[in-house]
Symmetry: C2
Subunit: 206 residues, 2 copies
């Protein structure tokens, strides 16, 4: 339809609409917005998007995104390199960092084992994790994967492969969210939060 | 937060988040998606966005977007250049074109008079419209602006300025939408659809 007026607009809309969660209508809205935006701002946007591909790499230790070969967390001497938290992707790193409660390092898997989505063990940074715990002194491996069937499967697979190399394998607590009412929690969560109940002293420790 | 790991990722997220309707979280999701996208696809996206600014212009007659000085509608000899439909922006052109019911040409104002949003008569292509109807033979000017206070204000302003130069000034019908129940229509719409009732023969004409 658009190509009647402008093939270039049509082309831009088609490319923008390939982004996840953006349909044709939103793509057109964004393209028309960009048409009205000053050229230097549009160039800045496209330059910075291009730099994503040319300047951003993955940390060769933890596979977090990084501008250098080793990311800012792995190269920080204040972080405890003997504690590794295994997460699905970089958004989980950001979420955990935002809590200000974690001083160790990370290992970003890039997903969880999910045969339904065609994600097997070779698509994930699992072997890299096993090598990492084998070749380094790791006191604790914290599993912080999603509380889904796929997350649990991945947890078990990791546990089986690392248990001889790591002193302690732990998993983040599943339970009632802070500020949440018990009556609205599902049975599985409530049951698990009862079974994995903790010392009162420990729970309120700052 | 992100700059801890990658200043380049942070920069890209900040620019993407400047787009309308896209917050930081969505921008991060899009940036991470682009990180995983093959380089040639990302380059295609940014090239086509850049081309929006370098290759797309506005038609010098109707101010629709165009790759040439005169857009495909204005330059089409089959379109009736003596009928001009005044619309707010290019999305309205697309909507009207999709109906396949209009054979005339357009005039894209670029908005409606809205002092609250800082849009006065000089931000819109109003003088260009008045010049156009003065210097060309225009048999009918169709006002197809939004049915809002701002749209009505703009309608009245246009009518006042063109009524001596145009044989007929019309406005698209306001009324009950096709497939809509009367009981759910608001009073203003229902009242207006009664006042501007049309000949049965005319209404069902193909």
């Amino acid at each position: 339809m658009l190509e009647l007026y402008s093939q270039n607009l049509e082309n831009a809309v088609n490319e923008i609409a390939k982004l996840p969660g953006i349909g044709k209508r939103t793509a057109l809205r964004l393209a028309l917005h960009l048409l009205k935006t000053p050229s230097e701002d549009v160039t800045l946007l496209t330059d910075r998007i291009n730099k994503l591909k040319t300047h951003v790499c993955y940390c060769s230790k933890c596979f977090n995104v990084s501008d250098q070969d080793i990311c800012g967390i792995c190269s920080n001497p204040k972080r405890d390199a003997t504690t590794i938290c295994v997460v699905q992707d970089i958004r989980d790193v950001i979420a955990i960092e935002n809590t200000n409660r974690y001083e160790g390092v990370y290992h970003v898997l890039g997903g969880v084992i999910s045969p339904m989505d065609g994600i097997g063990i070779h698509q994930l940074k699992l072997q890299e994790l096993f090598d990492r715990v084998k070749n380094n002194e790791v006191k604790e491996l914290i599993l912080a994967l999603p509380a889904t069937v796929e997350g649990d499967t991945t947890n078990f697979y990791i546990y089986k492969n690392v248990k001889d190399d790591v002193a302690l394998v732990s998993t983040i607590a599943r339970g009632i969210g802070v500020g949440e009412e018990l009556e609205y929690a599902d049975e599985a969560t409530l049951g698990r939060s009862l079974m994995t109940r903790v010392d009162f002293d420990k729970a309120y420790k700052k």
